[in-house]
């Protein structure tokens, strides 16, 4: 299959990504993860297992978490994509509250799973501002981390959730 791809003609694909329109000339059977990393230079999205088990390549597609290693690039052409770079860019102070919580609570070590983990945590907290432990476990069970033992990640998501709640309840809530 790899061989035939090398002989295939390229196609033009258009993506709505991090609020921008990006056009890419690539092979029809290329994975979204590869387009992000290699064609668009968005290397915040990582590939670790390549089979959708570790979540390092997680991105948001219309606000839902997807593993970009499992999607063909053409499947992501008529949707809104957001990567870790997009989350960072749309943060008010350069760092999203979820990212800030990861910093403060030791939610990362080597950092390789972190973009995917932050993406998954964002998706969870967007849907559910005060997740229970069970809901947190459910939402993050597709993201593997080999360094932290998840303890720092759990503390970070709890903290971010709390911050989120107080935002919503406070007078200056943007929600």
């Amino acid at each position: 299959m790899a061989f035939t791809r090398a002989n295939n003609r390229k196609v033009s694909l258009t993506f709505q990504i991090n609020g921008q329109t990006r056009q890419v000339e690539t092979y029809a059977s290329v994975r979204l993860a590869d387009v992000l990393r290699e064609e668009l230079g968005l290397t915040g999205t990582k590939v670790s297992c390549g089979i959708g088990r570790c979540g390092a390549c997680a991105v948001l597609m219309d606000g839902k978490v997807v593993n970009s290693c499992l999607l063909m690039a053409f499947q992501a052409t008529n949707v809104e994509l957001q990567t870790i770079e997009g989350i960072t860019a749309s943060a008010e102070n350069g760092v999203d509250p979820v990212q800030q919580a990861f910093l403060e609570e030791g939610g990362f070590q080597c950092g390789y799973c972190t973009p995917g983990m932050v993406v998954a945590a964002k998706a969870l907290l967007n849907e559910n501002q005060a997740p229970s432990d069970e809901e947190m476990a459910e939402a993050l069970s597709g993201n593997l981390c080999r360094c932290t033992g998840y303890a720092g990640i759990i503390r970070a998501v709890r903290k971010a959730a709390k911050g989120k709640q107080s935002d919503v309840e406070g007078p200056n809530s943007s929600a």
Partner: protein
């Protein structure tokens, strides 16, 4: 613990802007792929690469014939062939490599390389390899290394015993499973040299080995080795560097290779599977009398650090206990299985599982509380080390034991089909490479022309947080600001050689270097400031942004740097401290940990859930709270995986588990949500060695604590890891319901 600080490399990591070495791509880059053996053991009859070379887009195809100098690598013995010439000895063995314009073309080219093999008998276990008629994997035979330790007379020791327990413990092949698989780019330079952008734990050692393979001087090789997306010991040996380097020199273009997970699994190092048979005796009072240990390690086909790992297991066979009569024999055996090498804990995990298992079984037999049995046998602060060598006095064993013995575990509600139990375990773990092994360290401080205080160390950031350790210690030593610092690590052109980033040595070596440089560097800065400002040296002090007089900035660092033509630089060089007693591989500095684990065993499914995990660690002062805790929690969960789910299964030398769909590592669903780490920061009076590293200690004693907790929950002894639900169900069925409960004494409140 010190105040929390956000990690030095934190913002780039959480924002995704950090470029790992596998994220870099250079102009005109070619992509490399490696053809590896499909057979665990075979003779190579012929290799034909012509068809592959003719594929459009292929720029080079290399085999053994293209290696200019030594066709082998290995930190100690270069016996791991870069390319196999006559034999392949495991499924990860490399036969050829391709560079092409894309990954797809390179992958397609691999299919066009014709290799004719004659399959040979597969030695897929140490037992098979030790049979007298077994085929020899190496001319010198199938034993890599034998290690031995003896004291007293175990015959007499067992004669004095009131209770004796014997068990054989089986420990699995564990994968490092770092999230970033091996990879990076090698760029050819104009002078005929190369720059290597690939993660490793010892850049200078890579440089030395690559020079030996490529036949070019070391000075023409630059290794950039940080940051890494995890390593845990698995990236200490060369992996893809030789292939990318050979291809880059051949094609004169940058060559990038990045393993897929499956390639990483096949080619990468693993934790040594070990089978450990132990017989231990104790008298009526619970005092240990004799301990006889036989270890067999499956080391795979090549040396790597197999001998040192076996030595480490032999050394740690008695752990933190006083045992008068000891006999330990270890054998590391070549097989056609995965190449086994260093992995966080370095042989300590396997042997501690066996030792602590014995302590629990003895306590059970004597009807004694398992913590009390340990307490009665603990080493004293001034006792000799496990190999009868003098060590730095430490009361860590007692401190960690008492800290956790007092605590109770959190309450959990559970259903009637589940049973809950608690277990306790201890460990004593040596830091540094050990007596008789080159273990050089050092560091360098400079005031740069940009007005930064540059701290340069040859260590690598693998995720453990060495950058933050350096930053924290520098801020404390020089009272400067974070923005005054320029920390250089992981680049052989810019740092002094300070030894490997392994063996829990980084933190203590950075501390020692800064301690040694603190006074002279401060003095040098102040003297220069005095010359620049005319203010008496004793009225000056270092601070944020520059040198101060009475709280007022007298001169900033940039002006200070420009005051003199001569750059202000000081370097220090020393060795990791070792015992004055010549004990091959024996350690001098030890850390200690106690672990308490609470589990829930499902009687219907046989599944085990860890509900709570507490660790107490004695490793001297904590440098950075988040880093310290992170290492212990992360190590603890890596060990939870080792205990309950992780096994790289091989059948006749071939992997049955090639990715995270079959090789399971803990997910967030498998972990207790509130782990606790208690740091014991006190050192014995007169201890001048400062904080010890905690990179390994958190992984060592968790599995035995979990095994004992399972025993307390359901009465079944666990002697084989990982604990499989099937085996546990069988064991529970075999047992007569509740008969165990009457004679198990527990420490739980």
């Amino acid at each position: 613990m010190e105040k929390r600080t956000i990690r030095h490399d934190g913002i780039p990591k959480v924002t995704g802007s950090l470029h790992y070495l596998t994220d870099l791509t250079f102009r005109d880059t070619l992509y490399g792929k490696i053809l590896r053996s499909p057979y665990p053991h075979a003779r190579i009859l012929s290799i034909h690469t012509e068809k592959a070379k003719q594929l459009p887009g292929v720029k080079a195809v290399l085999t053994y014939a293209d290696v200019p100098a030594v066709n082998g690598y290995g930190i100690i013995v270069p016996d791991h062939p870069v390319f196999c010439e006559t034999h392949v000895r495991y499924v990860g063995d490399a036969v050829a490599a391709v560079a092409a314009v894309s990954v797809e073309v390179a992958t397609a080219a691999l299919l066009l390389i014709e290799v004719e093999y004659e399959e040979l008998p597969v030695l897929d276990s140490p037992e098979k390899a030790l049979e007298p008629q077994a085929i020899k994997l190496r001319p010198e035979g199938n034993i890599l290394h034998i290690a031995h330790h003896q004291k007293g007379d175990i015959g007499q020791g067992f004669a004095n015993a009131a209770a004796i327990v014997e068990e054989t413990y089986e420990l699995p092949r564990q994968m490092h499973a770092y999230m970033e698989t091996e990879g990076g780019t090698v760029v050819p330079e104009a002078d005929g040299g190369i720059t290597v952008y690939m993660g490793t734990q010892h850049g200078f050692k890579d440089r030395f080995q690559l020079a030996r393979i490529l036949g070019i001087p070391e000075e023409h090789i630059r290794i950039i080795s940080s940051p890494m997306g995890g390593s845990f010991g698995g990236k200490d040996e060369l992996n893809l560097q030789p292939y990318a380097a050979l291809l880059a020199l051949k094609t004169r273009r940058p060559v990038k290779i990045h393993h897929t997970r499956m390639e990483s699994v096949r080619a990468g190092l693993k934790r040594h599977p070990m089978k450990i048979t132990v017989r231990t005796g104790a008298d009526q009072m619970g005092r240990l009398t004799a301990h006889h240990v036989e270890i067999i390690a499956d080391t795979g086909p090549y040396t790597t650090l197999g001998p040192a790992i076996l030595d480490f297991a032999v050394e740690h066979a008695v752990g933190p206990y006083r045992i008068p009569h000891v006999l330990v024999n270890g054998k590391s055996v070549f097989t056609n299985n995965a190449n086994a090498g260093e992995f966080r804990g370095f042989g300590g995990n396997q042997i501690t599982f066996a030792l602590e298992g014995q302590m629990d079984r003895l306590a059970d037999k004597l009807g004694m509380c398992p913590v009390e049995l340990r307490r009665r046998n603990l080493r004293l602060a001034d006792d000799l080390g496990p190999l009868e060598q003098r060590i730095v006095p430490t009361n860590g064993a007692r401190l960690v034991l008492e800290r956790l013995a007092e605590t109770t575990m959190r309450e959990h509600t559970t259903s009637s089909r589940k049973r809950v139990g608690t277990g306790f375990a201890l460990t004593m773990h040596g830091g540094g490479l050990g007596y008789g092994r080159l273990d050089h360290a050092g560091g360098r401080l400079c005031l740069t022309k940009e007005g930064k205080i540059e701290a340069a160390f040859g260590f690598e950031e693998a995720g453990q947080g060495i950058l933050t350790v350096i930053e924290t210690m520098m801020l404390k030593a020089f009272q400067c600001g974070r923005s005054d610092l320029d920390i250089q690590i992981g680049d052989t052109d810019r740092v002094p050689p300070t030894g490997s980033t392994t063996a829990s040595r980084g933190t203590s070596m950075v501390w020692t270097a800064i301690e040694r440089l603190k006074k002279p560097f401060t003095k040098a800065l102040l003297e220069q400031a005095m010359r620049a400002t005319g203010i008496a040296e004793k009225q000056l002090q270092l601070g944020v942004g520059g040198v101060y007089e009475q709280g007022t900035l007298a001169i900033d660092y940039k002006s200070l740097a420009h005051f003199s033509e001569m750059p202000l630089c000081l370097e220090t060089s020393f060795d990791f401290p070792t015992s004055p007693d010549p004990t091959e591989g024996g350690h001098y500095l030890y850390t200690f940990a106690a672990v308490k684990a609470k589990v829930e065993v499902d009687r219907i499914t046989g599944r085990v859930q860890v509900l709570d995990l507490k660790q107490a660690v004695a490793a001297g002062p904590v440098v950075n709270e988040l880093g310290y805790r992170g290492q212990i929690e992360g190590g603890g969960i890596m060990a939870l995986g080792y205990a309950l789910m992780e096994e790289a299964i091989m059948e006749q030398g071939k992997y049955a588990t090639e990715n995270f769909d079959t090789y399971m590592i803990p997910s967030i669903k498998d972990v207790p949500f509130d782990m606790e780490t208690e740091a014991i920061e006190t050192l014995e009076q007169g201890d001048c060695y400062g904080p010890r590293g905690v990179g390994e200690i958190g992984t060592v004693a968790v599995a035995p604590a979990i095994a004992k907790a399972i025993h307390q929950a359901c009465g079944c002894w666990v002697a084989k890891l990982p604990v499989s639900p099937e085996r546990l169900l069988e064991a529970m069925e075999e047992r007569e319901e509740d008969s165990w409960h009457s004679h198990v004494l527990t420490t739980e409140k």
